[in-house]
Symmetry: C2
Amino acid sequence: MENAKKIWVKTVSLPHPSLKNNTADADRLMQELKKELKTESVYIDFNLLKKLPDYIRQLNYNVSSVLFKEMDNWVVLGIKSLDDPKPFLGLSVDLGTTTVVIRIIDLLTTKTVSETSFNNPQIEIAPDILARIHFADTNNGLKTINRLIIDELNNQISKLCDPEDIYLISLAGNTAMTHLFMGLNPHWIIREPYIPVINNPGVLKASDLGLIVNPSARILIFPNIGSYFGGDLIAGILFSGLHKKEETAILVDVGTNAEVVLGNKNWLIACAGAAGPALEGGVTRMGMMAGPGVIDRFSINPKTGEFNIHTINNLKPKGICGSGLIDLAAHLFISGMIDIRGKFVPSICGDKLKEKDGIKYLIVVPSVESSAGDDLIISQVDIDSLIRSKAAMYTILETITMMVGMTPLDIPMFYVAGTFGAFINPKSAISIGMLPDLPIDKYLAIGNSSLEGATIALTSTEYMEEIIKIRDSITYIELNVNQEFMNRFSAAKFLPHTNKSLFPSVICHS
Amino acid sequence: MENAKKIWVKTVSLPHPSLKNNTADADRLMQELKKELKTESVYIDFNLLKKLPDYIRQLNYNVSSVLFKEMDNWVVLGIKSLDDPKPFLGLSVDLGTTTVVIRIIDLLTTKTVSETSFNNPQIEIAPDILARIHFADTNNGLKTINRLIIDELNNQISKLCDPEDIYLISLAGNTAMTHLFMGLNPHWIIREPYIPVINNPGVLKASDLGLIVNPSARILIFPNIGSYFGGDLIAGILFSGLHKKEETAILVDVGTNAEVVLGNKNWLIACAGAAGPALEGGVTRMGMMAGPGVIDRFSINPKTGEFNIHTINNLKPKGICGSGLIDLAAHLFISGMIDIRGKFVPSICGDKLKEKDGIKYLIVVPSVESSAGDDLIISQVDIDSLIRSKAAMYTILETITMMVGMTPLDIPMFYVAGTFGAFINPKSAISIGMLPDLPIDKYLAIGNSSLEGATIALTSTEYMEEIIKIRDSITYIELNVNQEFMNRFSAAKFLPHTNKSLFPSVICHS
């Protein structure tokens, strides 16, 4: 039954040994698995081999085994009886620069057992990728920064389950994080011509990386396409199914970079560009990551001009996250408080608008209502920065669609990944011209597609080939920041755009 | 040039990275090696991967690499410049129960660099296989006996070369020794139905076995056919070329067991049986392993009856080894001092014949001429034992040839492996009916064929498939010790045989 589902757990009955059939224990098991898997290449992990003779006799030759694939060869990693209460577990990891999410699944049922997220401990070295890469180049730096993530992963895993039960791991992250995780020096990733150590790490022994799990465990590390297009995106494509659909669709993941893939079952093109900082809470003074008390939704009553603020957990506001900021910008524009250039309009802002050191700012939450002990404000500098980000985002979308003779308005389906996708209001993003003016139902938030992609790789034996197929079929476009690109970027620096006909749905109230 | 020779060292020039070609370092190297090797499956050892970016830049993208094959996939284990004075070395191991021989070769030139032999340190546990297997079953026994051989190998390797230079290892031994070497419990090998843990260990990471060599090094462990037919024999077949010849030939390796393979390029049959103890110096009172002062050749002047004794290094005799013993028995028989039943003939032995506790014995070397401080003697018990061994050997040869409708006299070519083959005088072995009465030039001593086979596996990329082909094409015959076998054995217990017509060349002088 479970075999029909193409899971990594296979059950076989071995013929008992006899003088007429004195094949070795390992070869006896391999023979039956070869039949079951219809393959010629099965081998047994060396750690398991040592325990095999006792195990298979204890199991009376009825063996439930967990396997994985290495370079097209099946490798047996563990065996037990079908009714053993100890499960075969899998671990999927979304290795973010800021946040790491891990999920434990039961490899037999493919159900999630538990999940947790935690800060990438490399943040203590530096929050940004560039500084971490420089740190890795210092004396013992690579080892130090590598141990940080490995130790914390081991720590978190041990809180969720018996690490011995984990046989398969699947990890997706950007190219730099993946390198630091493997202990590979990402030195050349940030230096022209931007060369990773490896594009396709494939399947490794988890113990070789310092992971404390079952000694036979293997880890699949999602491949990258280059220094700026990582395994997290490949996992996202795998999860979205973009690469298997008739209809062309786009997948956008906005983290530190905006990463974009456009395509269908016949072709995939991708590009990436810096578009994110303003959206991760890294730019505005009151910007922060989503969390309790952070403004995640914002609107302005068109009649009264009143600010409607929603915070996570309905606490007193202490800051604003990306989705709140996009809502804020959209409503400031729609209400006429900022103009098409994003500049404050004093006549409409009224006494909420202040100025300090020659820079105008708007009080979003007065100090008495905030938990920050101070006014929550947005300044002209903040808005200018957001506009550059949104213009970059739109220009990237315009550029990639143009490459295949489309426009952003021709995109049939728009998947938005990550926290960004989960929380932004597409209507607000359209209002400021960040996302194209498509019907709202064309936008689909697909959640943490990196984690989901990493997870499904552990739920079926079929995905491993697909991952390589995705990687090899993507045409990665280096964004050529030439005069034409800059012209399009400049046109996108208006709200919603110089060319208003691109955003027919956006109506400014002012 | 060296690539044409199909050695494991391959040299490639990589295209330099550029913005138009920003493939990762590892993938860049793999791409060129794939072209060079005409394969799709090349990967890079994880230890090497960590050092790769610095290495290939130092080498200015001209890379001499050493590879091996794992489950049909090529794996890159080391790279250097072609003119680097540090060599890529290979290590071949003949893992004997008593003696271990290791050889270092240069993988580029395939020439031998150095060689040494030493006692298997497991002798301190027990000299015989059975006792070692029982010891492995005791508390911590397996670990202890495993560490003995691993530690001594590491010690011996470090005396011959810089262990870091060793990338490839090839090891051939009998099934029990191979299991103890890998840390696999040979418990079931000696218990009906005689099941090894594994028949075909394939290629493993040397570091996983505790070997202190290059951290990327791989070890090929020769496969076995069963508990009583080990990788040493497979290596011997590989070296003899038995499996590729038109003409049928036989390969005999006499160690603790007599192992026999008969066949040609179309078929191979094999069997093994206890025939050895008397020949390894393990039975007679004066028997010992070959060494300085040991009698290795013996004859009797047919006219004077004088004993002509030759010792290794021409020292005073202290004992006798297998080849000397066979010479001794042959000449005692030819001179009439023993009869066709192997019994002493007092009238011819004269005053050399003594008796103690009812057992007759013959003084071979009087105490004044020996370095043992005592007479060197051979007793009736010793001769009876030798006759049982030689009868077993002949019966095995008779049985295996009979299986394919031949007789021992039909054997076109007779390869004799090991120390036994190197030192015995085939004429003497024929005289006592141990080996069939073939023309002397049909006997070819091929030396330590286990070591030679293990060595050639490191000299060409073609042998790995051959090893598996040999293993899979052998029909292993369990010697069925039934009444018919016992009848043939009884007939062979005469000198040279009950049926004298089988040994026309043997003329007894008495």
